[in-house]
């Protein structure tokens, strides 16, 4: 499949402008995510999930 030269130029421009991400952002998000997850557990949210999940969820199966 050939792509027109206009598109080539546009794409090459993008390629030059956009540089590869480092790993700082995902690692930071991972860290914040784990911190929030831990806070949620301490707050008792995991217990709520557990209580809901060990019973047959009537809404999920379409009983209501």
């Amino acid at each position: 499949m050939n792509i027109s030269s206009d598109k080539n130029d546009k794409w090459n421009k993008w390629a030059l402008l956009r540089k590869s991400h480092g790993r700082v952002i995902p690692v930071a998000i991972l860290g914040i995510g784990l911190a929030l997850l831990t806070f949620g557990v301490v707050r008792g949210e995991a217990a709520v999930v557990f209580t809901k999940a060990i019973r047959i969820c009537l809404e999920c199966i379409g009983i209501g």
Binding site: R23, G33, G40, E45, V49, L58
Partner: protein
């Protein structure tokens, strides 16, 4: 553009490998086989944790919880409108894997993949109104997963899990139908809601015969969340502009028709990896977890 390439040896090999991983992950996370025999569900400590994919916690075999169901369970609780536990979970999984979860770890994704392999007289690349249809999953995420469960409450202050109750075909497939067959009490309680959810599931099955992963494309709120992490997750792709000849083979190999050479980290990409296998110059590749020097590659952020 016809782009399904099961005849391409590299793609076929990759698809086979992916199916094996999907089946293995399904077997491990739904390993309470007694539930399938007795029409009951697992009630052990594993249910406190969520699995990454859309895996109903009322599936007879489920050893963990569905993150979308769990989110609704927390926000619909009296006095709670946000779940730090689940937001943290989405951030952690998203930052690590993005939509790799959809491609490799989601049981409903596996189901759609298997259905799509069935020969059908009319296979198509996309539905009319594709761009608009793709927005539905964001509407479902905002309203059915968050706002309605959190703020439409009953007399006792609790809400309903709207997405699970009125939409989720994964719950119908993995829990509703098996428990309806195996459990007499549930069979006797079946009513209009069960019929409605079965109608949605049958619709998804029919569409899956025609088009690749219709639920993931248009309706999945979990895919909408993980998709947002695709451009920044540790598991992501990049293109080396010096090597890329823009032949378009990656786009042809992609079942979602993503122009991967331009948008290797599209929010729609489920990381099946077919594009990596067909790239003739090796310009398209996975960003290594551990850097061996400066990357020359480019990963654009466009949500096409």
């Amino acid at each position: 553009m016809k782009s399904l390439r099961p005849w391409d040896a590299n793609v076929a090999k990759q698809e086979k490998k992916r199916t094996i991983i999907q089946l293995a992950f399904f077997a491990v996370t739904n390993g309470y086989y007694k539930g399938f025999l007795e029409g009951t569900i697992y009630q052990g400590n594993g249910k406190v944790a969520c699995v990454p994919g859309l895996n109903c916690y009322s599936c007879p075999g489920a050893l963990g919880s569905c993150p979308i169901g769990a989110f609704q369970a927390v926000v619909s609780e009296r006095g709670t409108t946000l779940s730090f536990y689940l937001i943290g979970f989405f951030m952690a999984v998203g930052a690590l894997l993005g939509r790799f979860v959809c491609g490799f770890l989601c049981p409903f994704g596996l189901f759609q993949d298997l259905v799509h392999k069935i020969p059908f007289y009319k296979k198509t690349d996309k539905l009319p109104g594709e761009r608009l249809l793709k927005k539905i999953k964001y509407v479902l995420l905002v309203f059915f997963v968050f706002l309605l469960p959190a703020f439409v409450v009953g007399d006792f202050g609790g809400g309903d899990p709207w997405f699970c109750k009125y939409v989720c075909p994964s719950g119908t497939l993995m829990a509703g139908w098996p428990l309806g067959i195996l459990n007499q009490g549930i069979r006797e309680a079946i009513g209009w809601l069960f019929a409605w959810k079965s109608f949605i599931l049958i619709g998804i099955i029919f569409l899956s015969l025609m088009i690749y992963r219709p639920f993931c494309r248009y309706l999945c709120p979990l895919g909408a969340i993980y998709g947002g992490f695709n451009p920044i997750s540790l598991y992501r792709f990049e293109v080396d502009p010096e090597l890329c000849i823009q032949c378009g083979k990656c786009q042809q190999a992609c079942q979602f028709h993503i122009p991967t050479y331009r948008t290797p980290n599209s929010v729609d990409c489920i990381r099946c990896g077919n594009c990596l296998k067909v790239c003739p110059t090796g310009a398209l590749r996975r960003v290594p977890y551990i850097s061996k020097g400066m990357n020359k590659g480019v990963d654009t952020h466009d949500a096409s």
